[in-house]
Amino acid sequence: MSNTPKTLFDKVWDAHVVRSIQDGPDVFFIDRHFIHEVTSPVAFLGLKNRGVKVMFPEKTFATADHNTPTINQHLPVEDPLSANQLKALEENAAAHGISHWGLGNPKNGIVHVVGPENGITLPGMTVVCGDSHTSTHGAFGAIAFGIGTSEVEMVLSSQCIMQAKAKKMRINVNGKLGKGVTSKDVALFIISQISASGATGYFVEYAGEVFENMSMEGRMTVCNLSIESGARGGMIAPDETTFAYLKGKEKAPKGDAWDTALEYWKTLKTDEGAQFDKELNYNADEIEPQITYGTNPGLGTGISQNIPFASTVKDGEASYKKSLAYMGFAEGEKLIGKKVDYVFLGSCTNGRIEDFRAFASIVKGRKKADNITAWLVPGSHVVEQQIKDEGILDIITAAGFQLRQPGCSACLAMNDDKIPAGKYAVSTSNRNFEGRQGPGSRTLLASPFVAAAAAVTGMVTDPRDLL
């Protein structure tokens, strides 16, 4: 028996290797598989063509989210292609005995919101989904990452995928976050420091006081954005905050099973002296509320800063200038005061109750700016209900906002929630790529506080002035 110290990632990874292929990947066992309507239909077709059944239907969970309307969900879906995908998901789930939370189901919502809130995701598990933001589930000390449709078919047919073990990176952030600085800002800050490809090839462990003091919602936001630095995924060691969140959740273990699980979960931390391939350290007081100005999530900065000059950026100048030209921004410009047209609060990054609380804390007693169209989209029906129960709906309604119904919505604009060409949106989502929120749309990624500040002032505004 070797006593070599192990990282959290090693412990979970090694416990899931069915077979190591020489000069090849590991055959990697998957505990939880989430599917949605967009990346699963071709995988089910593949099963059909091979005449293969789903191996462990009880380990796969289906929810409709990417392509669903966020108003009038009680009516038939108008777009025939979207309706067809939703029907395919329902039929495939039924044919293979897979749990399905379709449109209208009280459990329905964004896959990375409903998984954790129902206790499906647990520490020490391996979690995959045909969606890159599956990294969200790493907040629980799980190894969680996005996969392609061929891999969805692998998991359905064999509960395994082929994966080479990633390199290991630890990112430590110590100290205390300042006023108005959220988990989103921590994540955007890290990405701006290491770039949109800075963690490619790595699996990240987030460690240090800042993450220890974060709620589960905050940890999910951080792990969610791991992929935006290119990381395969990110994870945070489970602790009392994790256990308190999970206790009593519908699908979390109960009674003796809980005690057994808890004993195991408490071992899920990086051993003293364990080796990482790369380690980065930051201090919380370096971080102010962040906002992006370019067309990849690495092009962000503190909200009080100016847009950097091309000569100072790490990526190629031509690509940087193309990015600013798309945004209609110039080098050296101030970000504060830039006019905003749309505000989007929601997505698997920031569509949880804490995000709505943050948004409400700023808009309370204020009014939506006339030039702003705001889309507030809860991550799930459970979040929607919490918004009502906590009186947040009353606050946002009084301020002139409306609440929509759950789904991925304008984050990827597959449904009708599209930002028009040339318009500026401050979004709490995860990607500012060209056209991501609709053809020609211009996205500034930020926290719910920054989104709220823009929503009531009509421009990019430092939320610390309103808190």
């Binding site: 069915v18 777009d79 392609g148 490809s197 990849n296 990827l412």
Partner: protein, 198 residues
């Protein structure tokens, strides 16, 4: 379900010297609504390739008749963002069998390997050489040799080796896919699953 075998590919190439080409550019989300894998090539690079009225954008390389071929040459961090395999499907359906870059995003790289499109990682210096050669002569050919793991600029003979693990190389050479491999070890997976607690 096997895919095309890949051995030695000799072809002209299409240069796309842009960094951080994300999968939303390769295929925008609004074209992901199909339930079958077909016709994704039509919407490859949709918003860079076409105006909103559907007319081609003259300055985009896929609309430039001087360039064609089975090899796409992209800038650093190619395929970042969304895990949508549709991006790899669109590249394949359009007719590419190989993508060259100095750096690939992880999920995209796996997706291409899983459908038989070969991702070839070259040094930043060699990437610059390829772009220069294509700029000087759009009909210049590249040879991608999988058995030898080399990529060669045929005009000058300059070559580089590239990495691929032995398992994936064997699959690509023979057109085998992972699902067949996994199907053949199901009893081993069953036993493994039995000892998992949660």
């Amino acid at each position: 379900m096997a895919y095309d075998k890949f051995n030695i590919l000799k072809s002209t190439a299409v240069p796309l010297p842009i960094e951080n080409v994300d999968t939303d550019q390769i295929i925008p989300a609004r074209f992901l609504k199909a339930t079958e894998r077909k016709e994704f090539g039509d919407n490859l690079f949709r918003d860079w390739r076409y105006n909103t009225d559907g007319s081609p954008k003259a300055d985009f390389v896929l609309n430039n008749s001087r360039y064609s071929g089975k090899i796409l040459v992209g800038g650093k961090n190619f395929g970042s963002g969304s895990s949508r395999e549709h991006a790899a499907w669109a590249i394949y359906d359009y007719g590419f069998r190989c993508v060259v870059s100095s750096f690939f995003a992880d999920i995209f790289k796996n997706n291409t390997l899983n459908i038989g499109v070969l991702p070839v990682t070259v040094s930043p210096e060699f990437l610059v050489k390829i772009y220069a050669a294509l700029d000087a002569d759009p009909k210049t050919e590249l040879e991608v040799n999988l058995p030898d793991q080399t990529i060669t600029l045929l005009a000058t003979g300059e070559k580089e080796t590239f990495a691929i693990d032995g398992y994936k190389k064997h699959n690509m050479l023979n057109g085998f896919d992972d699902i067949d491999y996994l199907q053949a070890m199901k009893s081993e997976i069953q036993s493994f699953a039995k000892q998992m607690v949660l």
